[in-house]
Each structure stands twice: as structure tokens, then as C-alpha cells.
Symmetry: C2
Subunit: 416 residues, 2 copies
């Protein structure tokens, strides 16, 4: 019997009415013959309420005890959803992370899953039960409650699908899938019926926050077939329609049709650009610049260093705008140390990226992209490329224009 | 090192401010050199909120899932109290019922504790930690969450004290001890510095609801020294004063002084009286009357049957007023079956009882009691006695008068 793991976020279980709707949707899949495991988040607002209580007691709550408190949010939801399923005449049983058990490391508030013992759930499925599991939480080897950190229930969903070798992991959210770009910027943006894991990762890192990036990595690692679906469709939607709605995230090697050249246009304007000008072009210079940045826990994204001239080179990277001042302070010290000429910061930039596994074998994509931007008079400040992504850094005032132009240039506004 | 188990109810932990006060009180005892284990309830209102959510989903919530949901109430409190203790510079660690573990039977919503594994807590105490434990909950052999039912955290407190062989179990409530009678009826009522378990049981069953009766039974069974204390005193109260405040519940054999004849006057007006008149006085008749009542899950309290006359007898008992109609309906069928003359119900009655281990060897107590009531013109409808209790059923309009008269007659208004 085919097995499906469904994951519902906080908004989807935000009230007892919505929990009843989730039960209806699960019952529909069960009636269609699927074995069902359902992973749920805390009711929306609940985790924030619990954390606020903790902070009233301790401004910086003890990590172990914070997890004890926060984990109750999901525990309430699993009990309520199991009841709602029973009310519809189904057999259902709830599990906390410790009851499953979901073994994690000891990192409270941001634990990583080490192992899922699926034996209890297997037994339940065999007996015709729907298993309802608390996302976001686990237990360490010493029996302490742990949580996976914010948004971790996407990862829980995928982890259960991997452990149970589910046929599909369905993540229900308040959007109905992954789009070629943000429809708020390009109204013609099209929903992608499929996208590969690699593309999804590149889209996510550039700001298309449909799924937690960690859950996508996890799915890729364990080859979990992942589908993003809307929890806003009526629960009565015929299963044949729901089964193919949303966006399916596939493995590249699964692709049974010719890949589109480009799948989407991603963008991000949360970053700032930093350049160290006139750096002596000697071995180890990149390390000397970046190590103090990493030491300060500042995340760095695009890094570009071009070939040197006259024994000097320029070294650029982007970082989050909030970290710009801190970064410049650190680099000023570095500048003196390495004898560079100048450090320049610019927070009026944005990143725009083309993503697509199909571009791998098509060198023409880059030149077509650069020409399209040039025709609009958009100057490119930095370029960075990977196998399936081309990212440019441009003046932020051109962001919407660049996204629209690229979306049209690569025919992304055509129905797919 | 002396070990104390303290138990705080929902009102005592009803807000983060109150939780901080509990932490101060615990810290004071710890500073005085005691090893401390603290058992807590859910924040007041929280259990009701959770049950209401469950009932929105299922009018009669599934018992297993209801426990999953309800148990989160205490889990939040333990985390918050552990944080509050840390904020005061103490080492503290929280435990859910399953983490301890508190092994119970499988009876969801009203489970009974089978065994407490105290090894984790012992280790913590040895390392100087305050152990903060969720009351009201446990786990069955299959790892399912169970709850002990309403008010069960008093029982949890006593059970932990028993398992850990604590020197004392302190139950903090919103009253400061057990009184000779209800001070709302007799303003001169005196707080008892000590009371025996047997007396406490008799007081509780007659309506002095300071402690859950089950917790008192448990304490008696495992010889746990139990003290009821007020959580309304300032947490800064010197330990020497707090240590002897409230009421200590002792074992009869501990008594190192002459027992008072009478310890208190209990009363209850929630009951109704039922009499089956003119019952054939044959063997098995009591069974034939009471068995259908028990079958209907109706609880029966005082039962009186006097000697028969002319082959007939009258059979009376009391039951809760809410069950009177149901009881009369059942007895009407029984009446026809056994050939009794008549069934009479009366819900305008009350019970008043004298309690005291000292009365055991003093036959004069009963006659003194009956004379005092007679002098006030109070007619006694039923009398029932046990070793340490004399209960009378009288017209409810005389209740306050009877309580006041008996309280004075037995010198209970003298400071003790």
C-alpha cells in the first residue's frame, strides 16, 4: 500500500475548525487507499505565546527548559488532530517526538535528527491507524526534550518520509507551489509543476521561501519525493486533482522530459556588497580577509575575486545588510594588516539569479541574460555562476525591472 | 541531608509572577540546607482551556488523546519554574512524568501510580539540583501519556515523597491548614497544628476539602509525613516560622501527647436521604436494594438499617442530591420487586460529623453530642458511627446551628 507523509504548518492547524479541515483532507487520502502519517506544527501563535512566557521568567531562557516549554505546542495539536480523525470514524494515534522516538543530538533549540525509530508507526499503519506525529521536536540520548528550531517541522515531515520510505512527502502551506518568480513582482509568473532539488535549493537561497531550505537538503539527501501543496483548497477537492496540484520536487535523474533551460528567476535585496580594493595578490589573502568575518559569525554569500593586475587585486563579497557595519569595522582592521588600499561598502544593491538545471549544457544562457540586462541599461556589478545558477549583483533600484525582463526573456510567462 | 518534596497547585503557579514567588520560596528552603523536589500543577485555567479545545473537536474526547493534550499544562509549568530557579542562581532541572518516569496503569484520565523510578532525581539532588516535576501525569508501560485525573497532583506530590523517602511532603494551597471546622460558619474555628491521617480522611469525606482524599490515603499507606501550608504567606517568611505553620498530618502512633477528644466538626449539604419503608426483613435484602444503585454508578454514603419489627424493616442511605431522581426511579422498580411498602426521598437534609481519634475510648462523646443537639431542638434523623467519627443526618436548616453548637460543646474554639 502506498504511504504518504503529510505535513501541516501552524496556520493550517490554527483553530479547531482548521484542524477539522485537516482531518477531512487526511480522511480523503486514507479513503483513497493510502497509508497516512501526518506531521503537524503548533497552532499558529502558540509557539510565540510559550516563548513569551519563558522570556517573562528569563530574558534569555535556559535552552533545555525552553524546549520543554515550546514542545508542548505541537503536543496539543497532535492530540486534537487525532481526536478530529476519530470523530470522522478513523482510527488514529498521536506521537510526541519522544514517543516515536525521534532521536536528535543534544543541541537544544536547534537540534538535528540522528535517527527515527519507525517501528511504532509501522505497527499502527499495519493496524489501519493514521499516525499523527509532532513536528519540530525530538529527544536526545539522555531523554531530554529537544526542538529542531523554527520551521523545523518541514524537516520533521521529510525525515519521517525518509525513515518510512514514503512514496511522497506532501508539505501543505498557504501557497500552492513554487513559481517561476514572485507573482507580486511578475503577475505572469507560472506555477512550476515540477522542479528539481538542485533548482529548489538555488531558488530558496535566493529568497523563494516556500520550504525551509534544510528540509529540501534533507529530502535531496534521502531521495524523498517532495510535493508542496496548498492547504487553502477545499478539503473536498477530488484526490485526482489534489494529487497533481502544487509543485513536485524531483531528482534531476528522474526527469523524463527535456528540461526547461531556465526554471525561475530568484532575487534578494537583503544583502550588501563589500569590496576590499587594492589587495596584494598573494596566496592566502582570501583566507586573511574572510577568516575574521567567519569568526564574527557573519554569513557571507556571493564571493568574487578577479585576476590581479600589477600585483594587486580586488576582493568582493555580499553579506546581510544588518551585518554591514560590523563587517566594515572588521575589514578596516584587516585592511591595515594586509596593506590593502581601501574598503568599500554598498547596501543599495540586490541579487538577481537565473536558476535551471537545463542551463548546465547551454553556455548561451549567460550571454542571453547579460544582453537582456544591458538592453535595459542595467549595469552588472558582480557575476557569480554555479552549474545551475547565474547570479548578478546590480543596483537595487533595477531589481523589479531585471526580474521582469529576465522572466520574459526566458519565456517563463508561458503556461507550463 | 534532609529532603523535602513541595507541591504547588494551579493558583500558586497561575502567572509568571507567582512562579517567580514559588522559586523564591524553594530557594529559601534550599538555602536552609534542604534537598528540594518540587511538584507542580498546570497554571490555573490552563487545564480547562485545553479540555475546552478538545471538546470543540470531540464532545467526548478520546481518553488517550485527551491525556496527551492535558499533560502539556504541567509541562509548561515545570519548564518555567526551572527557569525561574536558574534566574535566582540555583541549579534546576525539569522532568515530565515520562522523563522521571512515573509508571501508571493504563487508565487514561484517572490513572493510578504503580511505580516511580527515582534514580534520575536522586542523581540530580546529589549534584545540587532542584528537581522540578510535573504533577498529575505519568506514563504507562507502553509509553502512553496518562493523567491521574483532576487534583491528582496532590497525589503526585505524596507519591514522590514516598518514593524518595522524603522527610516531609509540603502541600502549598490557598488555605493555611486544616481547621476545627469551616471558619466561614464558625469564626472561632481554630487551625489544627496536627491531625492524624484517620481524622483527615474523615474530615475530607465530610467536606473539608483541603487535600485530595486520595493523596491522604496514599500518604497513610506509605507513612509520608504530610504538611498543608499556605502559598499566600510572603516567600520571605523565615524558614523557622514556615516550617511549623500550616497543619501537619501525622500517624496516630506518632502522637506524643494526649489526643484531643474531638478534632473537628465536618459537614456536608450536598446529599439527599432515601428510605425504603417496610422492606421484608430477609437475608440479602440490602444487596437487592443497593446492587442496582451501584450498577448505575451512583455513590452511596451513610447507610443505616435498624432492627426489624413484624418481619419488616426500613432501609436508609444518603446519596448525592444530583442523583436523587435517578435513585428514586431505580428504587421504585426495586420496591415492586422486593415487595416493600414505600420509597421516600428527602433532599432537605445535611450531614454533620464529629471527628477525633480520641473519642475511640470515650463512649461519652456520642451522648454529649446528642444532648447538645437536643437542647437546641434539633431532631436527629439518622446516626452512623465509626471508630473515630459520629455522623448525624439532620434537617439542613439546622446545619450552621448544629456545627456551631458542637464546635462550642467540645471546646474547639479554644486556642490549640
Amino acid at each position: 500500500m502506498a504511504l504518504i507523509v503529510q505535513k501541516y504548518g501552524g496556520t493550517s492547524v490554527g483553530s479547531t475548525e482548521r484542524i477539522k479541515n485537516v482531518a477531512k483532507r487526511v480522511a480523503k487520502w486514507k479513503a483513497a487507499g493510502y497509508d497516512m502519517v501526518v506531521v503537524v506544527s503548533a497552532m499558529s501563535g502558540e509557539t510565540n505565546r510559550l516563548i513569551a512566557l519563558a522570556k517573562e521568567i528569563q530574558p534569555h531562557p535556559d535552552p533545555r527548559e525552553l524546549d520543554v516549554v515550546a514542545a508542548t505546542g505541537e503536543q496539543v495539536t497532535i492530540g486534537l488532530l487525532a481526536m478530529a480523525l476519530m470523530e470522522l470514524g478513523l482510527k488514529a494515534r498521536s506521537y510526541t517526538g519522544s514517543q516515536v522516538r525521534v532521536l536528535t543530538d543534544h543541541a537544544y533549540n536547534k537540534a538535528r535528527i540522528l535517527e527515527i525509530d519507525e517501528s511504532n508507526i509501522r505497527r499502527d499503519l499495519k493496524d489501519g491507524y493514521v499516525a499523527v506525529v509532532a513536528g519540530f521536536q525530538g529527544v536526545d540520548r539522555d531523554g531530554n526534550v529537544t526542538t529542531l528550531g523554527r520551521g523545523g517541522s518541514d524537516t520533521s515531515g521529510v525525515a519521517f518520509a525518509a525513515a518510512l520510505k514514503a512514496d511522497e512527502c506532501q508539505i501543505y502551506t498557504d501557497v500552492d507551489g513554487v513559481y517561476t518568480t514572485d507573482p507580486r513582482i511578475v503577475p505572469e509568473a507560472q506555477r512550476l509543476k515540477t522542479i528539481t532539488f538542485e533548482e529548489m535549493l538555488e531558488m530558496a537561497s535566493l529568497g523563494s521561501k516556500v520550504l525551509q531550505i534544510r528540509s529540501v537538503e534533507f529530502a535531496g539527501k534521502y531521495k524523498v519525493r517532495l510535493r508542496v501543496l496548498s492547504s487553502l483548497t477545499p478539503p473536498e477537492l477530488p484526490i485526482a486533482e489534489e494529487a497533481v496540484s502544487g509543485t513536485l520536487i524531483t531528482f534531476e535523474e528522474d526527469a523524463d522530459m527535456e528540461q526547461a533551460l531556465v526554471s525561475g528567476v530568484a532575487f534578494n535585496r537583503d544583502e550588501a556588497k563589500v569590496t576590499v580594493v587594492g589587495v596584494p595578490d598573494t596566496p592566502g589573502i582570501a583566507y586573511q580577509i574572510l577568516d575574521p568575518i567567519a569568526e564574527a559569525n557573519i554569513e557571507v554569500d556571493v564571493i568574487v575575486q578577479n585576476i590581479g593586475r600589477d600585483g594587486l587585486t580586488d576582493f568582493s563579497f555580499t553579506t546581510h545588510r544588518n551585518d554591514l557595519k560590523k563587517t566594515l569595522d572588521i575589514l578596516e582592521r584587516v585592511r591595515k594588516h594586509v596593506g590593502a588600499r581601501e574598503v568599500i561598502g554598498d547596501d543599495k544593491i540586490c541579487k538577481v539569479g537565473l536558476v535551471g538545471v537545463g542551463m548546465r549544457s547551454h553556455v548561451g544562457v549567460a550571454s542571453k541574460m547579460f544582453r537582456a540586462l544591458a538592453e535595459e541599461g542595467i549595469n552588472i556589478q558582480m557575476i557569480s555562476t554555479s552549474e545551475i545558477k547565474i547570479t548578478v549583483v546590480i543596483d537595487e533600484k533595477y531589481m523589479e525591472l531585471a526580474v521582469r525582463v529576465l522572466h520574459k526573456t526566458f519565456d517563463l510567462d508561458q503556461p507550463r
